[in-house]
């Protein structure tokens, strides 16, 4: 059953097919926050998320003529986004292999400062930059309400979530982020990723279990104090 939002999307796509760049802009502004958030949680990097966002919408523009009305526009856009991310992951893997080989060679030659890609210092546009931005945003958003201890605890949780998510299998990470962070239902994820609902369900389960295990110390309830004896 199509909603008003879906109908609006269809109109926008029809206009984009005619080369209407204003409609393209409207579609961008409708989805760009959600997609950016998705890519950010997948890559946990502002620069990569922005790259993926741009690549996704470039493919939307180029492939507008191939869009068929029998699919929801949002699902179609998510599919494109997923493909962009898979492409990026494939590229990163090949780069990582090359970097590993290079690192081994550097270590052999005595250069111990050779960095693998997982090291936050590996890229200037990578996590250091992202962390720096996050700190500024945190400061602006919560000027004085949060004490230093809370802030440190919060950062510890975020770091745990980040490493936990990045350790997940990429496909499991994708469905988990879509479900937990994007608030998408199983059927929506199923349509967007072109996989059965059962697969979505199992991937969410395994991803959740693994991540919960990783974040055990934040998830488990604090030990209850022993009940005092009645006076």
């Amino acid at each position: 059953m199509s909603t008003a939002s879906d109908n609006q999307d269809l109109k926008l796509m029809a206009a984009i097919k005619r080369g209407d760049s204003d409609a393209f802009e409207q579609l961008f502004y409708k989805y760009y926050r959600r997609l950016y958030a998705l890519f950010y949680r997948l890559a946990w990097d502002d620069g990569r998320a922005e790259d993926l966002l741009q690549e996704t919408f470039m493919r939307v523009w180029r492939g507008a003529l191939t869009y068929k009305d029998d699919l929801k526009v949002s699902s179609w856009v998510y599919r494109i986004g997923r493909n962009c991310w898979i492409d990026l992951e494939a590229r990163r893997k090949s780069v990582r292999r090359a970097v590993d080989i290079e690192s081994d060679a550097a270590l052999d030659s005595g250069r111990v400062d050779a960095l693998s890609e997982n090291d936050p210092r590996a890229t200037t546009s990578g996590r250091y930059a992202a962390v720096k931005t996050l700190n500024i945003i945190d400061t602006i958003a919560n000027p004085a309400e949060e004490g230093p201890d809370n802030r440190a605890a919060r950062r510890e949780v975020e770091e745990g979530v980040r490493t936990g998510l990045l350790d997940l299998d990429p496909m499991h990470r994708l469905v988990l982020v879509m479900s937990f962070y994007q608030g998408m239902t199983y059927s929506e994820i199923s349509e967007a990723l072109e996989i059965p609902t059962g697969t979505v369900k199992s991937r969410v389960y395994y991803a959740e279990r693994k991540l919960r295990e990783r974040l055990k110390k934040f998830v488990q309830p604090a030990p209850q104090p022993a009940p005092e004896a009645a006076p």
Binding site: D46, R212, Q220
Partner: protein, 438 residues
Amino acid sequence: MIDEDTRPGSPQGGMGAVLVSYALGELDAGEQSALESRLQQAPALQRELEEIRRHLKLHQDVRKVAPRRGSYERLRARMKREGSLEGAVPGAHCMARRSFVAAAVFGLVAVALLALLGGAQPSQSRPDQIGQIVYHNPSLTLGQKRSEVARNELLLYNPDARPPQGEYDTSAYDAFLWLPTGQANTYSSLEIVQNSAFRFTAARTMELQRGGIRRLDVRPGSIVDGSFTVRTPHGRIEVDEGALAVTVTRDGARTQVTVSEGSARVFGADSDSVFQVTAGFCTSIERGKLPDPPRPLLQLLVGQKPGSEFELEATLVNTGFVPVKIARAYARVPVYLLHVAYTAEYEPGTLPENTTLPPVQVTPKPEVGETAADHRGETWLEPGKAYRFTFDVSPVLINAPRVEFWLRLEYRGDLYAPSGQARSMIHSRNLRIDMRNR
């Protein structure tokens, strides 16, 4: 119903997956109530559900992120840089490229198939079809094309067919003929006047029995095709490449040939002699006679105007068979040039010296009742008609030595006959003006 399979590694995770689904609100009402009743009896499941909820809450508390400002502007800049905005329709250039590749592949396959089938050339719809004939209402003025009347295949003459085919009579219409040369986008074309009878005995051999060809524009064919030949009752004309007009006179006594571009070879029917007729020349052939030697389409005459000492009269006459467009005397570029030469008087002990002055452009002097506009631009000269003007040579001769002068007028304009454009040297005979006793 709830899946009770809690074995590790079961496809959907068993009870754990149900708990996660429950926490995410993915279960329907029946499944929810079933799970809730089961939870009341299973504290371990309750603890796990509580953990799952805390886990979810943990993620919900993670700080929200938003893209930096100017995302769309950066996207537009990138698309512009990479050329994605080219073309009115998104992705059309990609599709066009794909179409081009597909067409190229198809073309290669087609060529390969043709080569395999023995190099067969694309066949015409009929083996005896050599071109197309289009009938028009007759032209009243030169160069005018009237409305189309009919359009047919042009067929080779075949007397054995029933009824005989390939004999054409244009009767009350003009006809345009288009003959492919075998090369892409290249045609020989013929413009046939009304009341003409003709037939093609070969793809490049035409028999003109009556009437005329106002314009025969021949483009070269393949080597094996040879020259384009027009046979008339009086002889034949062969053309490799060029434009000409061929007319069988109304009394049927002779064939007139006027060449406007390129050249043609003219053979008399009763003689072995041949004349090469070049652009700007014409000739005629008759039965039982040698062909006339080619002569220019125009003749230029210069003479002294009666009663005037320094005024000369120039006359350009169309001596050909077809109307010719000529340039008049007032023109942006010099068209009528006067060549002046004289010889010094003979004196004992010295040799006479020949002097030739640079050619000068003549300026017409309008007669009574004429204006300058009558000598400006271009005009058509019908056969036998002339263009005439007078000009003054006193500025040239006034300070000249008192000797004998020889004056010659040259016409340098293009000749536009109906069948093309030619440029040939046309000049008058020398005119002697004796200034010794003046």
